[in-house]
Amino acid sequence: MLSMDLEKLSSDINAKVSSANAKVVKPEEDGAGDSSILIEASSIKEVAQALLDSGVNVLQVISGVDYPDYLEVNYMFAKFDLANPGQFTLKLRVPDKANPSVESITSLYPAANWQERECYDMIGVTFNNHPDHRRILCPDDWEGFPLRKDYKVQDYYRGMVVNPDEKMNWADREFAKRQEEISKAQQEKSQD
């Protein structure tokens, strides 16, 4: 759907920004889905400028993903041009999970303002030189980043219990636990 020639696009990016080191990431042999372009995290601002100059006029969404070894930030760019529409995903990887930081592109694409705030709120990537770097969906003094895989909900928020026992749906939890036990037993049986 609206796919673009990624090989050409990545070589264009490399020609304009030498430090980008752009390459095309394809789905694995037994995999499926879209291809995308992977660039060096430090070159995002120059690459965004180059894309903006080449007519990629819309940044749709920034989606952060937490992988075991690195955090990945996906920028979904699109060309809103009726004669020549297009869409592609630009990826960058931040290996430092304790202090991840990426340059903000809000000055180029105003859409990045809230999207970067959401990415910070959920995954914990800090965006340097962002004009209004705050959490957006969670309260400002919330701890942790909910969409990290190792996230644990804090016990107390401003002295209030976050998940009080009387408000938990215990019947639901017990049901889920029982289902898990049943499926485990079935798996063991099938292995025997």
Binding site: A32, L82, P146
Partner: protein, 391 residues
């Protein structure tokens, strides 16, 4: 005479000489989270200079349920009801986007009849959603009766959906591989009757609201979002089309059956003294889109084929490794689903691009210089659903 109306500039009373002399401290006013004009739990921190808004800072997150985190612990079929609950006014369109993302990874083929039913349902849902937008927008601007007319018609659509899926708002009707249940010919006949009746009804709305002098004066030249601003912020749907861009994913990149159907893409053209990109343009785009939806539904009723309504799907769905970004044209704009799979039974990551989130982020840009009453008109004209903004 050169006035702000024909100069093409934004009306900004804070800049005139008299107001400069009278300038005083700004007053901070919290609009919401419980406010009838914010369409849910949106809080806008407004700094006002008398009746004029100087800054507006939206605060969102009051309806944040972290659906994206929930989805990581659910199997692919179990996510559909959660996707419904994001935009509760256009649940069918939401689940369709999600289901399309899963199907594109699985490579499932959807039977023709299922595609016909899907498009029929999607367009009915679009009408229902736009009716809600129409009714509440008139309500925001002080007219009560259009709301009742709109709900009367919406009720007919919801009754049909209730018969089809068993629910009135959150359907879980579009399933991976097709739809849950077949539609009967009696129900199709009722849809046809609804179309005949609804076209007359639309003429009534046009006389009652669209041509209404008070309504037009309240909405035209207010809250202008031009083409460049829409691109910069990534606006889509009626907001982008209100700015005069003929961009509709159903035409630009047809999915499902839309490539075979004949319909127009209405854009804001500045007739009836409106300005391209103002509140009235966005409103009129929605009204014209309802006519186009009726046109699509008629073609579906003529062309619907018999056959199965659900394709072959494995009992336990496991997606291959990879990721996909799928977007479709929902009533409020383009909804995007970024689905990452690691080969397991549950998604590794599910990110939803919400059109309302994008449109809410444009409010600080258009607010400065507006009267508070006009700001209410601006919020209403982008038709936000906070369930989708916060997810």
């Amino acid at each position: 005479m050169q006035t702000w109306e024909n100069s093409g500039e934004k009306f900004n009373p804070t800049q005139t000489a008299e107001t400069e002399k009278l300038k005083s401290e700004l007053l901070t006013l919290n609009m919401g989270p419980q406010h009838p004009a914010t369409h849910g739990v949106l809080r806008v921190e407004i700094k006002t200079d008398s009746e004029v808004v100087a800054h507006a800072i939206p605060h969102i997150g009051y309806l944040h349920r972290c659906m994206e985190k929930h989805s990581e612990n659910l199997d692919y079929r179990g996510i559909i009801p959660f996707v419904d609950r994001m935009d509760y006014l256009a649940a069918m369109n939401q689940e369709h986007t999600y289901v399309m993302a899963v199907e594109s990874m699985l490579g499932t083929e959807v039977p023709r009849r299922a595609e016909y039913i899907r498009v029929l349902i999607l367009e009915l849902q679009r009408i229902a959603s736009h009716l809600m937008a129409f009714g509440t927008y008139a309500l925001d601007l002080g007219a009560f009766s259009p709301f009742l007319y709109a709900f009367d018609e919406r009720e007919k659509i919801l009754r049909l959906f209730e018969e089809l899926s068993g629910a009135r708002l959150l359907y879980n009707y579009i399933w991976i591989g097709g739809v849950w249940n077949d539609i009967t010919s009696a129900q199709l006949y009722r849809v046809k009757e609804f179309c005949d009746h609804f076209e007359e009804e639309l003429k009534k709305y046009d006389t009652l609201v669209s041509q209404n002098k008070i309504f037009r004066e309240r909405t035209r030249h207010v809250g202008i979002m031009d083409e460049q601003m829409c691109y910069a912020y990534g606006a889509t749907g009626p907001v982008l089309r209100g700015a005069g861009v003929k961009w509709d994913l159903r035409k630009v990149a047809p999915y499902s059956l839309y490539g075979e159907l004949d319909f127009d893409v209405p854009v804001g053209d500045g007739d009836r003294d409106a300005m391209i990109g103002d509140c009235y343009s966005r409103y009129i785009v929605r009204m014209k889109e309802m006519t186009e939806s009726v046109k699509i539904i008629r073609q579906i009723l003529d062309g619907i084929e018999s056959g199965p309504v659900i394709g072959k799907v494995p009992k336990v769905i496991k997606l291959p490794k990879g990721e996909v970004y799928m977007r479709t044209e929902c009533p409020r704009g383009e909804l995007g689903i970024h689905l990452v799979s690691d080969g397991g039974k549950t998604p590794y990551r599910l990110k939803v691009k919400s059109p309302c989130f994008t449109h809410t982020s444009m409010l600080p840009e258009i607010a400065p210089g507006q009267l508070i009453a006009d700001f209410v008109a601006s919020i209403g004209s982008i038709d936000i659903v906070l369930g989708e903004v916060d997810r």
